[in-house]
Amino acid sequence: MAGKRKNAAAARGVSPSPSGTASTTSASAATVTTKVAPKESAPPIATTTNVFATSTQIEPTTTTTSTSTSTTPKSSGASKSSSSSIVDKGALPQAWNKVFSNLLTHYQDTTPQRTKLLDAFMAFLVVVGGLQFLYCVLAGNYPFNAFLSGFSATVGQFVLTASLRIQTTEANKGDFPSVSPERAFADYLVCSLILHFFCVNFIN
């Protein structure tokens, strides 16, 4: 932990050093976090920096924390020469945190009610598919036909619903000049019928 803090200090302490641009990015990222942080569960700033420090070691190797701690001296030693890259990658989880919260707000704000219904259906399909897969792993896949058709039904329905969702989203209008939402829904129905015909035929 001490090493991490030290590293964090090193990473932050480079701001007066020659690589000014990199430090500004890191600083801005840090401030963003502090801005976002109160929105979540209001962690103290010290924790935020701690997260930041941990991430500095995690990201370059994308391994567990234990290995990253061992590499700490090296990365901190090299931080002066290649501080910009480390900071850049260190900003990733920063963005990650931001992504989660922003995603949530973005989703809640901009998604129409119908699309949310679709999303609920997709989530349901994921759960059902996951359950089937779990059953297959735990209890064996004996009626393999049945498992396959059940599982493919959920997967197929999921991708079809996802396609419908994509086609009916306003932002994607440009991609589908010839597909109106009504047309998309009709396509969806036809494809689902075909899908379920195959599934029923395959289930034995």
Partner: protein, 749 residues
């Protein structure tokens, strides 16, 4: 077309409806040309099923028509692979039979009384017309030029590479599969362009039909994911790609699993894993794409690629681990032989022994595709220039297809469509460039003309440097030259295609043709003669042993049970037959007794010079048998010490004592004056020792030109002697034997 009609075309061709009408007429004519060029074999010979595999398909179709669909689906065939039998309904691709069965019943319902054989014979030409149309549609997706589609249609219609597998009577899976292949590709491109689920679903349906028809469906299964993958790598992921690919994959995989022969393969074998992998990869990409649209940030983009890449890597490792742990079957032998052309020869002789699986010789490309093969690179280059999603498809397909066509002769068939499309794009670009009715006058030139008001430009040498001279592709001379050259090439192409079709690909190979000295055609009909003999002179359940090449024909024409046939599903059984053929009589006889063989059929071309006979295939029998019994059959022993494969006096003892050799040359000497016996295939003189002697089998039938020889397996001797001594007794050699065996050792020094 005459100049007059061309002119009228130019005038009337302005209107959209006229163009459509003309296009329809041209397409119909193309379909007519495609069909009629495939009828050579019917005209030259007769309406007959060709070669080997078609005979099985024909037999299965007859079964389907006679017994209905459900019985066909559950068909267990006990007349092949005696004594094992074959679950035929579950081990064939039913698309072809069902198609012709449907056509047959439809025609019947329209009260057109047709014979099922004629439906089968003419199915391939009929579908070639459809293939030409599919090629037209596919090419129209690639280029706005409408002439390219028509050119592609005519190329597809008459290219020998495709005709080779689709002449009338060649009732094989490829007959409909190529149409389905091209049409599936067309639907895929359409789905990708529009991003429509419906087109994706249609693509999946036709893909399912393709899976039901031909084992080559794996080509689509690999090509579409590859295309998607290349698009993703080029940074061209789009929601349209997601919609079209996922709807194709989700429906298409389920559709393919409906076929009993395919069954669980799409989730179990490595051939199908790329499609699955790309499917999963696209899900991740779609998710990340959504996230990115929600939060635009530079760091996120790097994160996106790191994340996607690592997941892809994990998936790949998972696949490798699952394969090595045995959850997923590794690649099949045929696929290994696609990567390493030497693989099959070493590991799976049964695959290497099929001439279709040999690597392609260079001239074959020119022979099968003529000028299209050198238009292919030009077409691919033009695709590079535009490089929209669909052009990437052509490029990927061309690379993939030409590699595989180089590895296996048979896969020339899958290359042909893309060659036709690319060549049509190239040629139509040339023609469109040079045949513009009005030459666009360059701007500077216009200025020059208005100021100068003299059209003569050659005289003004001073102006020439400043203005663009009136030469280049706008000159009449170059137009005429290029257009004339292209016309000449096209005419040559048509002539070549017609020549190849009529000479190389229209022989049924069941019936052979030769020329008499006066030039008239002489039909050699030994195969059917022999099969007819079998049908009329043997018991209904007499088992016929022959090399597997003839299994389907015996089943189809003679209607007798066989030991092995062209569905080479059981290598050991084939090796057993190979061992029986390659061993001495004393070894072969028990094998034949165990398999209840009644007759043996061999093909011998020595008299006529027919090179596709069993002696020439013999080494494969030896090799396949050696693969199972390495210490009983040895390939080396069939070669002379100097490594020659000889059948004359210099042949090895193993060779001379093998059943195949004996059956081929039995009594052959009697045809010739003493010492003159000659084998016209191998071009050697046979030893003058009275020919090989057969003890445990006897000659039953030999066809007119000695191509087919049938032997009857003798029953056990009544008196319990072995066959050698029994037949020696028959020949009156009793005394000799007694003298030899007699107790001569009275005096011992």
């Amino acid at each position: 077309m005459s100049a007059d009609s061309l002119e009228r075309l130019a005038v009337a061709g302005k209107g959209d409806s006229t163009r459509t009408l003309l296009r329809v007429i041209i397409l119909l004519l193309i379909a007519g040309a495609a069909i009629s060029s495939r009828l050579f074999s019917v005209i030259r010979f007769e309406s007959i099923i060709h070669e080997f595999d078609p005979w099985f398909n024909f037999r299965a179709t007859k079964y389907l028509v006679a017994n209905g669909f459900y019985k066909f689906w559950d068909w267990f065939d006990d007349r092949t692979w005696h004594p094992l039998g074959r679950v035929t309904g579950g081990t064939l691709y039913p698309g072809l039979m069902v198609t012709s069965g449907v056509i047959y019943h439809a025609l019947r319902a329209l009260s057109i009384p047709v014979d099922i054989r004629n439906v089968c014979v003419l199915l391939a030409p009929a579908f070639s017309g459809l293939t030409a149309y599919a090629a037209y549609l596919l090419t129209n997706e690639m280029t706005p030029s409408s002439s390219a589609g028509l050119l592609a249609a005519i190329f597809m219609g008459i290219a020998p590479g495709y005709i080779s597998r689709s002449v009338a009577g060649s009732y094989d899976n490829e007959a409909i599969a190529i149409f389905l292949l091209v049409f599936t590709f067309y639907l895929w491109i359409k789905a990708l362009k529009l991003g429509s689920m419906l087109w994706g679903a249609l693509c999946a349906l036709f893909y399912g039909y393709m899976v039901a028809s031909w084992g080559g469906y794996a080509f689509i299964t690999c090509l579409l994911p590859l295309h998607a993958f290349v698009l993703i790598c080029m940074g061209r992921y789009s929601t349209r790609l997601y919609v079209s690919y996922t709807s194709w994959y989700a429906l298409g995989t389920l559709a393919s699993m409906q076929i009993p022969f395919v069954g669980f393969l799409p989730v179990k074998t490595s051939e199908h894993m790329p499609a699955l992998g790309i499917f999963g990869f696209l899900q991740l990409l779609a998710f990340l794409d959504y996230v990115r649209s929600a939060i635009p940030s530079r760091q996120f983009q790097t994160f996106l690629w790191v994340f996607a890449g690592s997941v892809f890597g994990v998936g790949l490792t998972g696949l490798v681990v699952a394969t090595s742990a045995g959850y997923i079957a590794p690649w099949g032998g045929r696929f290994y032989s696609l990567w390493d052309t030497g693989y099959a020869k070493i590991h799976i002789p049964i695959i290497a022994s099929v001439s279709e699986h040999q690597p392609t010789a260079w001239p074959a490309f020119f022979f099968d595709l003529n000028m299209l093969i050198w238009l292919l690179p030009a077409g691919v280059y033009l695709c590079f220039q535009k490089l929209a999603d669909e052009h990437v498809f052509v490029i990927v397909y061309a690379l993939f297809g030409s590699y595989f066509a180089g590895v296996m002769v048979r896969l020339m068939l899958t290359l042909t469509p893309v060659v036709c499309v690319a060549a049509a794009i190239a040629l139509s670009t040339i023609l469109d460039t040079y045949l513009k009715a009005k030459s666009p006058i360059p701007e500077e030139h216009l200025v020059e003309e208005s100021s100068d008001s003299t059209p003569k430009k050659a005289s003004k040498s001073g102006l020439r440097a400043s203005s663009k001279p009136y030469i280049g592709i706008y000159a009449t001379f170059s137009k005429v030259t290029v257009a004339g050259a292209m016309t000449a090439y096209l005419l040559l192409f048509v002539a070549h295609c017609t020549w190849v079709t009529s000479n190389a690909y229209s022989s049924p190979s069941v019936v052979l043709a030769s020329r008499m000295p006066d030039g008239s055609q002489h039909i050699i009909d030994d195969y059917r003669e022999a099969y007819q003999w079998l049908r009329q002179n043997t018991k209904d359940d007499a088992k016929i042993m022959s090399w597997w090449d003839y299994g389907y024909q015996i089943g189809g024409m003679a209607d007798r049970p066989t030991l092995v046939d062209n569905n080479t599903w059981n290598n050991t059984h084939i090796a057993t037959v190979g061992k029986a053929m390659a061993s001495r009589e004393e070894v072969s006889y028990p094998i034949m007794r165990q398999h209840e063989v009644d007759y043996i059929l061999v093909v011998f071309g020595g008299l006529l010079g027919y090179s596709g006979d069993d002696i020439n295939k013999f080494l494969w029998m030896v090799r396949i048998a050696e693969g199972i019994w390495p210490d009983e059959v040895k390939e080396r022993e069939f070669f002379t010490p100097r490594g020659e494969y000889r059948v004359d006096a210099g042949a090895t003892d193993t060779m001379k004592n093998s059943l195949m050799y004996k059956m081929s040359y039995h009594n052959y000497n009697n045809l010739f004056p003493p010492g003159q016996a000659q084998d016209r295939v191998r071009g050697v003189r046979l030893p003058d020792d009275g020919g090989p002697v057969l003890n445990s089998i006897e000659e039953a039938f030999t066809s007119e030109n000695w191509i087919i020889r049938i032997y009857k397996v003798k029953d056990l001797d009544n008196l319990g002697r072995d066959h050698a001594s029994a037949s020696a007794f028959e020949r009156g050699q009793k005394k000799k034997k007694v003298i030899k065996k007699g107790p001569r050792v009275l005096r011992v020094d």
